[in-house]
Amino acid sequence: MNELVNFTIDKKECMSTKGKYLVDAAAENGIYIPTLCNITGIQPRGACRLCTVKVNGKLTTACTTPVYNNMEVENESPELQDLRKSIIELMFADGNHYCPYCEKSGDCELQAIAYRYRVTVPRFPYSFPKREIEAGHPLLAKDHNRCILCKRCIKAVKDDDGRSIFAFARRSHKLTISVDTRLSHVMSPEKAAYAAEICPVGAILLKGAAFKKPIGERKYDKKPIGTELEM
């Protein structure tokens, strides 16, 4: 699998190993493609659609598409930038995201990406949904208001027997993440911390840990998201 391939992103010559997912191959070449649902190393699931690019003229998600030789990728065209911006706006309009008092502010990837894409007022009407906060789990709180249903927790956090602690429930606009009550009660603190850490927004919160790191010293407070890999 170590075969090298040449491809282009926005006409820039890139090189990577065959079969690597485009989003990671782009990062190797100093190009940032925004994602909210992807975690490197875990089977991708193209849920948020934010990493949508055009490969040989067709829309596809960079997190699920392996690179191959002579692939032509369009990443930062005005059309794609606007598509991504509208997906971010959709997420804000669909949930209740109040950054000023959210525990995740500054570490939140949705917030950071919104800044990067200069989101001000969404073009879509806010739906102001009425959603629950589940506080009954011993180590975690699940705030459905902020959940963007990216599936990270579902894919990355399982118990030792491979059973799901987080799973989808229902479908359509009624889709939610449910937390397994029995398993959440025997979850290790490390696993709980991991779940909170990989949540790109403030939907999974570790109890008793909010604001341990002060605002101003958080991940995206100093440098915008993506700049760490851009050349």
Partner: protein, 602 residues
Amino acid sequence: MINSLNSIINKYDADPTRLMDILIDVQHKYDCISDEAVTFLADKLNLSEVDIEQTLSFYHFLSKETRGKYTVYLNNSAVAGMFGREAVAKAFEETSGCRFGEVSSDGLIGLFDTSCIGMNDQEPAAIINGTVFTRLTPFRVREIVNGLRKGLDPVDLQDVGLGDGNNNLDIIGAVVNNNIMKIGPVLSRDYKPGEAIRKIIQMSPEEVIREVKHSNIRGRGGAGFPTALKWEFCRNAPGSKRYIFCNADEGEPGTFKDRVILTELPLLLFEGMVVSGYAVGAEEGILYLRYEYKYLQKFLESILKMARRMRYLGKNILGKEGFHFDIRIQFGAGAYVCGEESALIESAEGKRGEPRDRPPFPVEKGYLNQPTVVNNVETLCAAVKVVLKGGEWYRKLGTHDSTGTKLLSVSGDCRFPGVYEVEWGFNVSQILEMVGAEEVQAVQVGGPSGTCVGPEDFNRTLCYTDLATGGSLIIIGKNRDLLRDIVLNFTDFFIEESCGSCTPCRVLTVMMRDKLQKILDGKGCSKDLEDLEDWGKLMRANRCGLGHTAPNPILTSLKNFRHLYEGLIPGKRGFDTGFRMEEALAEGRSLRLEQLKLQDHE
């Protein structure tokens, strides 16, 4: 309960990939899948409770709460609405004493809406505990509900007479009509069971694929992928086992041709699966059958049994050494998206029917991660004829790039709704003449996911390069309110049936619907029309065909019937010119009132 749950689990070898079958059996036995059952199943299958609920809560016909001793699923497709659904629904509510979405207080009757059940040529129709009732009227509803109250079984209430053809057999016994209106090579009466199998076992699998390739036949589900290529890719993909799926999940509102094939020519279909299995090198075939057609289960199983007896299925088929193939039926449980091939595979593996990312394609990594072919019912039937009569014969039918015939499911405002097998290349006007439709306002070609065309497009032809269709043709007369009765209904359908995974599909379809409602309420402005067009384009970012086509009812009607939208915009205004103070403040006021009440209470 424990004993019977155990026996259900054991029936499927406690295999979590058979979770769909297990849940369907539990639901069938207890009218619901209770918390206790969920916990029990989770422990026995080594899954968590949320794993079980993830699948359970995805499907329309599975439920944690009881849905009544008799559960009425009344079709809410647009065509049902055209033929008096509202009065029928009202009669159900009055006689049952509960609203839709509820169970009557005595627990006897539950009333629920459901997406198209494949009876569009005999609407309004409903399924009551697996028994189909067609051509309902308020009078019939009162008879049925009174009968149920008297303790009669739904099966005993079919006293209006059974349908035609095999519907009349005891083993089916359904008040469903085939309404076969035009016969072609696929539906023809000259079918002799086993002939194609006898022929292919004299050929190599590669020769079979070559013959099918020569016919140029493409998938009949709507996407139109070349069938032989699919078989070839699957045959050549590395894997320890291969699988043939027949996609009998026809859920596109207005489609019912597969139901007719399953009723009249099941052996033809199974023979098609055997042919496909031989070509691909698969030993296992799975018929993924929509739950709405569960009334055909016993019949289909009896046909499978017969096929095994005739040695069309089983080991060393018709004496061909090493040629093994058998078929089982896998039921869905109410989800349109499972008609998408990768969602169908997920569902057959016991999971929620969420489409997969591609690559890899199912032909490389499909069912249980093995190379898998998913073919439409009609495709497999046509393949049998191709094998028998040759690819050269087949490609002379139809047009250059759309060879062969297509089964159309015709419904709506016409005199002769039903199934028509026609060669590709007919134009819309010819079809309308054929089915007896005059005074036509619009034709919905390909169901809600297709295109809504008006008279200026009636000269366009049905083929993959112009008006592609999986077969649903809904005719909408001039007297209909196109936007309210059709477009809004179709958009609601997509909202309900989205798997919810992709953000635009989950969120934007609802917003587009709200915007359409705003326009219908006379509150729209021309900016709203631009928004609908712009927002519709974003839906291309979704993963699957459902997500891509969900805005089509609005987009294609906006393109072809723009005057209807514009006529609803008062004074042709360009933007919202004001707001209603009372409405804007209503929520704040109600919260304030609640607060005052709480203070009083304290």
